[in-house]
C-alpha cells in the first residue's frame, strides 16, 4: 500500500513538472481591433493600418493607466465619447516607456507653480492620465461644455531629455503641413484622419511637406519647441502633443448633411496602440 502511494506521488510530481514546463504563458489579450460591425472592405480601409494581421499577431501588454475621460481633478470639463477613433494606429513615439499625462497640471506646468520641475519623477511614471478637454484656450466641440478644451493628448517621452526620442507616423499617409512647431499627416485611407504632432525639434525633422510616410516611420525628435513669439523662440515642457481630427457627419431628417472636421479624443486609441507597442507591434522605420 505504502509502495503504491509512493509510486503515485512520484508519477504525479513528474506529470505536474512536465505540465508546468510545457504550458505556454498565458497569452496577452489582443485588442479587438477590426472587429467592429463594418463591411470587410470598410474595415480594411478604416483601420489605420495596412496589414491588420500584424495587429492580430502581435501581443498586447497591459500597463497601468487611468480610465479615459478621468482628468486630473479640477483640470477641465472632460468629455463623454470614449470611442476608439483611430483603431490600429502605431503608437506615435518610438521608445517605451512613454507617459501620457498633463504637461500643464503636472509638475513643471503653468498650473503647478508649487513644483516647477518638469523632470519630477511623477511626470515620468505610470499610470497614464487622459488630458483631452483639459481647460485650454483652444475651442473643442467634443468637450462636455462644447466650448474650450485641450484638443489632443500630451505624451512625455521615456526620460526628461529633449531632442532624444523619436516621434513616428501613426498611420500610412502624406505630410500635409509643416510649420514651426507642427507636423500634420493625413492618413491615406478613409476616413482620412489628420494627425497633428506638436513641439518636435524643427531642425531635425526627417520629413517635409508632401512626403509619403509609412506607419512607424520616424518624423522628428520630441522636444520643447513652442514656436516663435515676436521672432523669439518659445519653449514648453518636453512632450509630444498628439491630435487626431476626423470628419463627422450628421444627416438631418430632411436629408441635409451637416459635417465638421473635429478634434477627437485620442486616449483610447493611444492606450490600445501602446499595449500593442509593448507587445511588439509597430517597428520603428528610418
Amino acid at each position: 500500500m505504502i509502495r503504491m502511494l509512493f509510486a503515485v506521488a512520484v508519477i504525479g510530481f513528474a506529470a505536474i513538472s512536465l505540465w508546468a514546463c510545457d504550458s505556454p504563458p498565458e497569452p496577452a489579450p489582443v485588442p479587438e481591433v477590426g472587429t467592429e460591425t463594418e463591411t470587410a472592405s470598410e474595415a480594411a480601409s478604416e483601420i489605420a493600418h495596412e496589414t491588420s494581421s500584424e495587429v492580430a499577431s502581435s501581443g498586447a501588454a497591459p500597463f497601468p493607466y487611468d480610465p479615459p475621460t478621468q482628468l486630473i481633478a479640477g483640470s477641465g470639463p472632460s468629455y463623454t465619447n470614449t470611442k476608439n477613433w483611430a483603431p490600429g494606429i502605431c503608437f506615435p513615439l518610438a521608445d517605451t516607456p512613454s507617459y501620457a499625462n498633463s504637461q500643464v497640471w503636472k509638475p513643471g506646468g503653468y498650473e503647478r507653480p508649487d513644483n516647477p520641475s518638469q523632470c519630477a519623477p511623477e511626470n515620468y511614471a505610470y499610470p497614464w492620465q487622459d488630458n483631452f478637454c483639459e481647460t485650454r484656450t483652444g475651442t473643442n466641440m467634443m468637450c462636455k461644455t462644447g466650448t474650450k478644451g485641450h484638443q489632443g493628448q500630451d505624451i512625455r517621452p521615456k526620460t526628461c531629455k529633449t531632442n532624444t526620442y523619436w516621434a513616428v507616423a501613426a498611420e500610412d499617409g502624406v505630410v500635409t503641413n509643416v510649420a514651426s512647431m507642427t507636423v500634420a499627416i493625413t492618413g491615406k485611407s478613409s476616413p482620412y484622419r489628420i494627425y497633428r504632432y506638436l513641439h518636435m525639434q524643427s531642425s531635425t525633422l526627417k520629413v517635409a511637406y508632401g512626403d509619403h510616410v509609412v506607419r512607424g516611420q520616424k518624423l522628428g525628435l520630441v522636444s520643447n519647441n513652442l514656436g516663435l513669439k515676436n521672432g523669439v523662440q518659445q519653449y514648453t515642457t518636453i512632450h509630444m502633443h498628439f491630435e487626431v481630427r476626423v470628419a463627422q457627419a450628421e444627416t438631418l431628417p430632411d436629408g441635409t448633411v451637416l459635417s465638421a472636421n473635429t478634434f477627437v479624443p485620442p486616449y483610447v486609441a493611444l492606450v490600445d496602440a501602446y499595449e500593442r507597442k509593448l507587445g511588439g507591434d509597430c517597428q520603428t522605420i528610418e
Binding site: L5, P29, P64, M141, Y192
Partner: protein, 246 residues
Amino acid sequence: MAGKRTKIRRRIIRKMTHPYVMVTVGMGIVILTPVIGLGLSQLAVAQVAPITATRAPVAQTQQTPAPVTQRPRIDWQAAAARHQRGIVAKTTAAIVSRLPRPELDKTRLPILLPRSGGALKTAQAKLISFGDAYSMNLPQGDGVQITLSGNAAAMPVPSGAISRLEKRAARIQGVLEPVQIDRTEDGWTASFTRFNVTYTADLTCDDSEAAACKTDGYLRTVVADLTDVVMGNAAIAAARAAGANL
C-alpha cells in the same frame, strides 16, 4: 482494552515513520506548495488589478461597434455649376495651371478654390489627393500658411452631435453655410459643409504674434473667398454619372 489501544497507536506511529510514508508526504508538500502559491498569487493579482491597471473601461469601449464611414451623396449639380462658372469667367485658370494635373484628376470631389484677386496668395499652391479627400497647401509668406482640405468620407454621428453646435457656428457674410471656427494651438481652423462634402480651412502661424493669427478675422476672410470650384477628370466623370450637365 487500554493496552490494545496503545498497541494500535504504536503500530500507526511505526507506519507513519516508515521511509516511504515520509518521502510521500515530502513529495506532497513539494507538489502542493507551488500549486497553493500560484492560487494565492492569482488571487492577489485579481485584488490589486483595479488599482494598477484599469483595463475594463477601454476593453468595454473597444467592444462598441464603430460606425461605418459614410460618403454622403455629393451635390454634383451645384458643384458643376460653380466649376463651369469659373471656366467661363476664366477666374480659376491661373491657380489650376499651378496644380499637379495627376493629383487634380484623381480627386473624386469638388476642390474649393479661393477667388482670384482675393486675400489668398496662390503662387505656391500645392495639392495632394487621396481620391475621396484632398489637401491643398497655400503658403502666404512670413510663416503663415493656409491648408484647405476636402473630405467626401465622414464618420456618421448621432442626431444632434453636429446640429447642436449650430448656435455657436459663425455666420460669415457671403457664405451660406454655418462655419465652425476653432482656435488651435498654432492658429485657427474653420470647418463647414458644402455640396455635402466636409471642407476645412486651417491657418497656422509660425509666430504666435503674427497679425493673421491674432483673431479669427483673417480666416473668416479666407473662407469667404472660397467661392470657386475646380473638378478634375475623376470628379467630372462622377458628376456626369450623377446627371450634371458638363
